[in-house]
């Protein structure tokens, strides 16, 4: 039983990381309907930033966390301005290929600069284990869970209660109508990218707490999993992303725990396929009416 609860905690903490990244993915998708393949690579850049600040500059973890989040935010906005804005009226598949191009660019540039060997990120804090009854709970897991839940709450507040959030919702509903209503569409989209990328930055920090190595290609699979989480939960929905992420984390953990680790990705995708077939918009996605 102890092992079961330990695995549950492992699953929750892995799932929280997916959830956090899925939140950013979902936001960006919600506003310009772009599968932002570069989202995972923003996390990669964030991880290298943490390494650079702590390992090379020798600064403290607080500076590293701040630097990581700031760099990720800026990177997200810059990517949006340079690569995605010119394509606003282009077919969506061109936008997708651009996103893939940006993803490749970040990966190969990172490889060129940093080499393909993993860089070890120093611990942000000393590892510590608490015991709840007999179940060991790592400090990392607690922090991961708490930060993710907080991020989701703040985000929900931002989207539902603030003026900017209202603008974001309006733009995602109908870009042209929003423009007519006097909403600055460009800055709203940039703001969305900034928030999404900041989440990626937080995700990078949490990821590095649990898996303290940075490699140039670390983001691609992570981004894909987060995307799966976002779709599973219903893309565009904040609680949906959270549920989707945690569901995938738990699924991976329990499949591995029963000794089928080789099949865990297959099981994840199988669940995704079944959910999409039963409920094509994911757990909490909105049904979009087909216009005739």
């Amino acid at each position: 039983m102890t092992v079961f609860f330990s695995q549950l905690i492992n699953g929750l903490s892995l799932g929280s990381i997916y959830a956090l990244i899925a939140l950013g993915y979902s936001m960006v998708y919600g506003i310009i309907l772009l599968l932002n393949f570069a989202h995972g690579d923003i996390i990669m850049v964030g991880a290298y930033m943490s390494w650079f600040v702590m390992n090379q500059l020798g600064l403290g973890p607080v500076t590293a966390v701040c630097a990581t989040i700031i760099v990720c935010t800026l990177l997200g906005v810059v990517i949006e301005k340079i690569a995605y804005t010119p394509l606003r009226s282009a077919p969506r598949i061109s936008l997708l290929i651009t996103a893939i191009g940006v993803s490749f660019f970040l990966e190969y540039t990172a490889e060129l600069i940093m080499g393909s060997g993993a860089k070890v990120i120093p611990a942000y804090f000393a590892p510590k284990t608490f015991y709840v009854g007999k179940v060991p709970v790592g400090l990392t897991s607690i922090i991961t869970l708490v930060v993710t839940v907080l991020s989701m709450l703040v985000l929900t507040f931002l989207v539902q209660k603030t003026k900017l959030g209202k603008a974001m919702r309006a733009v995602s509903e109908d870009m042209d109508a929003a423009r007519l209503m006097g909403i600055n569409v460009n800055s709203t989209i940039s703001f969305t990218f900034a928030v999404g990328s900041a989440l990626a930055g937080i995700g990078a920090v949490l990821y590095c707490c649990s898996y303290p190595q940075a490699t140039p290609t670390m983001g691609s699979m992570l981004g894909l999993k987060a995307f799966v989480a976002a779709v599973l939960g219903g893309i565009g929905s904040m609680p949906g992303a959270m549920i989707g992420g945690i569901a995938i984390g738990l699924c991976e953990c329990f499949v591995s725990a029963i000794g089928l680790s080789a099949w865990k990705d297959a099981v994840t995708f199988a669940i995704l396929i079944i959910v999409l077939l039963v409920k094509p918009t994911g757990f909490l996605g909105r049904q979009v009416q087909e216009k005739v």
Binding site: I97, T98, I100, G101, L276, L277
Partner: protein
């Protein structure tokens, strides 16, 4: 223009295209035998395989207007089918290879139907992620299926070896021609027009009495079958198979070829498959910068030419001849319109 345009009769068109292909064949075989080195011939062979992949994905992406991200999965199915068949088939080489390729097409096509039926109920990005999921499941299954079977057949990550190397310039060229012809003929037929109609407006197509599900699955399976053909050629080219080759990145690579060439343009797919296969080889001297350059090209290309190299333009010999016959070739076009031919 009130005078009737002069047109070519169908048999003449076929003859012309056949002559064109024959000329290309003679030219290329002269090159392969006399000019190109072994290395350049190998590159040419991979160009051929990539052309089949790109052209086949173009059916699902360009003509059907969907975004499948699991094309490499179908390639894997075809590759393993053909590899296992030719490896254990007692028939003489040529026959077993032909049968193996046919089987690869059929099995991959069946997978296309199996996956297409559920997947095509969805559209857009949901379909993309669903096909991606299927592709990954195929890869993971190939990796681990020996554990389930209890004996060694697929060899998983350790690599399937001793596949007879039947692929050569002649049969790859033949397969490219067959693929292009079959897809061209399909798209020119009633069925092809139905597929195009679905792409342009599904609801309108449905209300005209087109069975949308049937045609969507058909186009999807068609696309999968030719990916299987390419897989079979690939297996018998390399002689060794490993599931990691058919990951998600391979699907992306093929998609990039199609979009860069221009969605719905067969010539575009052929051109960009050729360019994107030769480019990494030609830029070897850049060493570590070449992939960065590649990604930049991708971004810039999409920013400045979002429609791809050729847009939806397609090459048609007969059209050019007709234009010459009507004396239109050098007249300035009144309108730079895209003609879907």
């Amino acid at each position: 223009m009130n005078t009737k345009r002069k047109t070519l009769k169908m048999p003449v068109r076929y003859l012309m295209n056949a002559v064109l292909v024959a000329l290309l064949f003679v030219g290329l075989s002269y090159l392969t035998q006399n000019v190109l080195s072994t290395y350049q011939n190998k590159v040419l062979l991979t160009v051929g395989i990539n052309i089949i992949l790109a052209v086949s994905l173009n059916v699902a992406t360009g003509y059907l207007g969907q975004l499948p991200l699991g094309h490499a999965g179908f390639m894997a199915v075809g590759a393993y089918t053909c590899a296992l068949f030719t490896k254990y088939c007692p028939l003489p080489g040529g026959i077993s290879f032909a049968l193996g390729l046919a089987l690869a097409c059929v099995v991959a096509g069946l997978f296309g139907v199996l996956i297409g039926i559920p997947a095509l109920r969805l559209t857009g990005d949901y379909l993309a992620i669903l096909t991606l999921g299927f592709g990954e499941i195929i890869r993971i299954t190939l990796n681990n299926i020996d554990d389930v079977l209890g004996f060694k057949l697929f060899y998983g990550a350790k690599g399937l070896k001793n596949i007879p190397k039947y692929s050569n310039y002649w049969n790859v060229f033949l397969c490219v021609v067959i693929t292009c012809f079959a897809i061209h003929a399909m798209m020119k037929s009633r069925h092809g027009r139905a597929v195009l109609a679905i792409r342009d407006n599904e609801i309108a197509a449905e209300s005209c009495g087109i069975q949308t599900t049937y045609y969507k699955v058909m186009a999807f399976a068609f696309s999968a079958a030719f990916a299987g053909l390419a897989g079979g050629l690939y297996a018998c080219y390399l002689g060794v198979l490993d599931p990691s080759t058919f990951g998600f990145m391979k699907s992306i690579e093929i998609l990039v070829m199609v979009v860069l060439g221009g969605m719905g343009s067969m010539l575009g797919s052929i051109l960009s498959a050729t360019v994107l296969t030769i480019l990494p080889e030609a830029t070897r001297s850049f060493e570590s910068y070449r992939m960065v350059v590649y990604s930049l090209v991708l971004i810039l290309m999409m920013i400045f030419r979002p429609g791809g190299l050729l847009g939806s333009y397609d090459f048609s010999m007969s059209r050019i001849v007709e234009k010459i016959m009507n004396g239109e070739l050098f007249r300035k076009k009144e309108k730079e319109g895209e003609d879907h031919e």
